[in-house]
Symmetry: C2
Subunit: 620 residues, 2 copies
């Protein structure tokens, strides 16, 4: 193997290097919708197949049979019976429905579409005459809008996302009309001139932006902005929040959102807030939001992010604790939060055209998020620690089932993150084999990507049409050496904010290749992260690796990395054929690594991402 | 029960209140040696009996039979055979011997003394002609003084402490002479004009101060000061430290000790360093040391201490991470570090006459340290988390056995922390039933204390002689309401730095009583400790309480405290008769608490100190 460079550098330093001090002027990329991208990838296609054949059926069975989630809608429609489960369980139905809709876009399936229609009829029937829809409040008879942390708008947001997705997938309006009626009803109570409201769990804001786009009605965008601007003025103390011990910062309600500088409190709520802020900033030019998002991104990614792209250090608040405090065994890193990092960083990339956001998006996607579902697609992680005693194991479902339904709507939409367009360029952000055909500058454009990524660093782009604009190919910060060629002739493109810029006009049939360096590399944490002191993590390309005891019965506890350790990557037949990395010391002892996303797919045993480096004995 | 006050106050705020901004002028208390104090206490006497009847025999059996620790000395004496175990295992023998010596002081025991003499003969025989003694280096033939982190001086320090202890207990000099020869030998290599040396693990410094005192030879004190002043000048990079990834701050070697402001790195090493600095500051008036110790105490106790008085958040470095980062499940809180807190805070109290140091001493002693040994005295915790999934269980011994031997030398010497004297006063620091007789102001003085503490708040002091000086009784910061009386007549003493000052001359036979308030109280963490956000801990007097699932099969996961929760303390027949506290909510649900020190003395089940407060649901 090639000797890896090992200046003591850190993920944070990494990102910092790619991070310009001043916010960039908005470049306004438009991501190419995954409906225009057919994924034909050695790494992802099997996962998408499992999603359709295993994950969705699991979610449907849980929602219909193993839990009362669908029965809640039936009872609410009949106006009798009790509510079972948690007060926000409706959202799991909506999120699963959104995933089913995305699956239909990728792979039409009459039976699945019929199932969607069956669910949608029950959901629509549960909607109250005034447009309100929430089975928990309808069945318990509790007073609506009395507790800002009871997720009424959160559920409405997921209803809306599902409705927009299913409308795009099928053109059917039933669920979309239900979402519109709920939104219009909420706007009779809240908004300019209405009563104050601070949703305890954000989600409605980004959903309203989607609704504004599909209905082409800006009033929903205005309502989203109004909700964002409600925060940080003390209005959140209305309702029942005072009953709780959570401070305002837990709800992102301590200061106006345009003044935020530090992430705090609940991780997923924060991600959804930032997505909503980015959407409104893009649509309405709120530079105060954009400035805040730049400050927040630095705080999240340079001071509070795990190497897996996971965020939220503590289970106690499902969120953030202290800068540079990143304990591994108790890392919370909720799957939903890693998906949230993908959603937020995609928006930041679209706003700025800076590749650093895709570096983080990719880190969260291939590690923190992908670990959330088992290789067979049937079991899920809610919490994703970076170290385990062997007692952390995926489950078939959770009482709070946000993460399974989150994964079920995330996986089929990964095609969203591969390409983007702008007035002057086509942007290639992720390296996933696909064939895409989309409108670009008013004409149909086609492109094909083939790659062995992330286990291989070679990417081949074949143009299906003439390209009259720049081609901008993201160069991951972790790949120091990259070779570019056009039709086999090597070129040296200029670099701009993490992208190789190919300005020469390309013609239909031209082949652009890039070779990135994915050889195994040891990474040190920022030295301020004391929990990782004297340790190293292993990365190959975007994949963070880990060691499980099941592969290392003898050396697991004793093996220490050093600058004499040899790192060799090789194909394997375990875990469906992942690339493993073998670390070998001069004394012949070895430690076998597997990709982090693939851990706990066998008998659960201890696991660690950070491995002792050097000869230090950390006892006494 | 009395309704507990519940302004959101914190342990840190607590200490802060008692903490004067400027370092106090040195008051120079002299702790009354435990050899002058016979403990007759309902709480501690049974623990001391277990120490003598169970803990010491366990240590002796482990050292002689279950491990090769004593065989290492025999092999080194014979100049043949191999070394078994870890390179610093000699220190466990010395620490156990120190505990045996203290036990002899409390309770003469011919058989135990004979065992000590047998060990001492073997230790002395292992000493090399030049005075060097370390079985690891002698048996491996490795070059001496080649690696500053191989604990040669650490072991020499524990040899010295054991030697001083046994000399005081029996007047026998064999071990003391061995320690003197080792010290004199080291001083031929190191010290003024000698080569640089930075002990990787402090301990020798405080031991040399004890040696200087017992030999009345100041050269050992000078050597201790020289060693302290070696740190922070880059000398520590000599030897093999470079091989390791530990940064200088791990070894308390980043800056000169007089300039330290923040604790960092290994917790136990830090505690021993601070003890040595306090001793040298007291003996040689090093105000730079004293100023640093005040800064360090604030950093440790206001920003990095658990409510149990435990310190060291991370297993990775057995030490410190980030201010206000206090994860509970992975809290390291090594038993040795809690004992170190007692040793250091006793010295700070002697230097300043401020009761706040005894508040912390007591917190660490009754919680973090006492939890280190099982109620039967036979099993030990090395790590003391504040939350457990039920998989954390005391062991009979550890490969790295610092903690069992640490407890074995700590328990029999707790009498050291009850009384202190100064030129103008007798100081009462801890409330432990005892009869004491010691020289005070040149004449024999006697005093008797009876109390149900810590399960009762009443203390009775009966004077066995006239007291011509002030009587200063510590008033714990956690006790807001206290009633004092002399011979039954209530008095209102002045308060000074955490002490009630009784200036009136007291006569032989006078009875001074104090009643403190030990009713159950909920404590909130400093709001900057996000891991404890929305939770409360329960304290009664100095005892921190915890809930084990074994007592709470139904409510363990669901019970939430609130301002409507009733807290009632009551005697029980479990765990040898601890006081339990029952928390009862208006809905009738209850959570039963036991003292933290007594957890995991039954079938291991989940345990937590911090319990959800309020009605917040911390999911999604």
């Amino acid at each position: 193997m090639k000797p890896y460079a090992l200046p003591l550098y850190s993920v944070a330093a990494f990102l910092l290097a790619a991070c310009s001090a001043q916010p960039e002027p908005a470049t306004r990329l438009t991501p190419v919708d995954f409906s225009k991208v057919r994924i034909t990838d050695g790494f992802w296609s099997p996962r998408l197949e499992k999603h359709a054949s295993a994950t969705l059926p699991v979610c449907i069975d849980q929602i219909e049979n193993q839990t009362g989630r669908m029965r809640n809608f039936e009872n609410a429609a009949n106006g009798q019976g009790v509510h079972s489960g948690i007060f926000f369980d409706d959202s799991d139905v909506y999120k699963a429905l959104e995933g089913m809709a995305y699956s239909l876009i990728n792979t039409p399936d009459a039976a699945l579409e019929a199932k969607c229609d069956e669910w949608i009829a029950k959901i629509a029937a549960a909607q109250q005459p005034d447009g309100y829809i929430n089975t928990y409040y309808t069945l318990t008879g509790l007073e609506r809008w009395d507790d800002m942390d009871k997720h009424e708008m959160y559920c409405a947001g997921h209803l809306t996302e599902a409705a927009v997705a299913y409308y795009k997938a099928t053109g059917k309006r039933t669920l979309l009309d239900a979402a519109i009626r709920m939104a219009d009803y909420m706007m009779t109570l809240f908004g300019e001139g209405g009563r104050h409201w601070v949703p305890g769990h954000e989600e409605i804001e980004l959903a309203l932006v989607k609704l504004a786009a599909v209905t082409e009605d800006p009033k929903y965008l205005d309502f989203a902005e109004w909700l964002l601007d409600q925060r940080g003025h003390g209005h959140g103390t209305f309702g029942k929040l005072k009953e709780r011990e959570w401070p305002a910062h837990y709800y992102q309600d301590a200061v106006p959102v345009g003044e935020l500088s530090d992430i705090s409190g609940h991780a997923v709520r924060s991600m959804y807030l930032y997505c909503g802020m980015a959407d409104v900033a893009a649509a309405k030019g709120r530079t105060d939001y954009l400035d805040a998002l730049h400050r927040l991104w630095d705080d999240v990614c340079l001071r509070n992010m795990y190497i897996t792209g996971g965020i939220g250090q503590s289970a106690s608040n499902e969120g953030f604790t202290t800068d540079y405090s990143l304990p591994n065994k108790t890392a919370y890193c909720e799957t939903c939060a890693s998906v949230g990092m993908v959603l937020w960083n995609s928006r930041m990339n679209a706003l700025t055209g800076n590749g650093k956001y895709v570096d983080v998006l990719e880190r969260s996607m291939y590690n923190g998020a992908l670990a959330g579902v088992s290789l067979d697609g049937e079991r899920f992680f809610y919490v994703n620690p970076l170290e385990s005693d062997g007692d952390h194991h995926r489950k078939a479902w959770y009482g709070c089932a946000c993460c399974p339904s989150q994964i079920s709507r995330f996986l089929p939409s990964i095609g969203n993150y591969i390409y983007a367009t702008s007035s002057d360029a086509l942007w290639v952000n992720l390296f996933i084999g696909n064939e895409a055909s989309f409108d670009f500058c008013g004409r149909q454009f086609g492109i094909k990507m083939t790659t062995g990524y992330p286990y291989g660093g070679d990417v081949t782009l074949t143009l299906g049409a003439n390209l009259r604009k720049e081609l901008r190919i993201r160069v991951p910060a972790w790949s120091p050496n990259n070779v570019f060629a056009i039709n086999g002739r090597e070129i040296t493109p200029l670099m701009d904010k993490g992208y190789a810029v190919i300005s020469r006009k390309l013609r239909k049939g031209d082949v652009v290749t890039v070779s990135m360096d994915i050889s195994p590399t040891l990474v040190a944490a920022d030295p301020r992260v004391r929990e990782d002191e004297g340790m190293r993590a292993l990365q190959c390309g975007p994949l963070v690796y880990c060691a499980e005891r099941i592969d290392n019965e003898t050396a697991y506890d004793t093996f220490a990395l050093s600058d004499s350790t040899l790192l060799e990557a090789s194909a394997s037949d375990i875990l469906g054929g992942v690339n493993i990395v073998t670390a070998t010391n001069p004394d012949g002892s070895t430690l076998r690594y597997i990709p982090y996303y693939a851990w706990d797919n066998r008998t659960p045993t201890p696991m660690k991402v950070w491995v002792r480096y050097g000869t230090g004995i950390d006892i006494q």
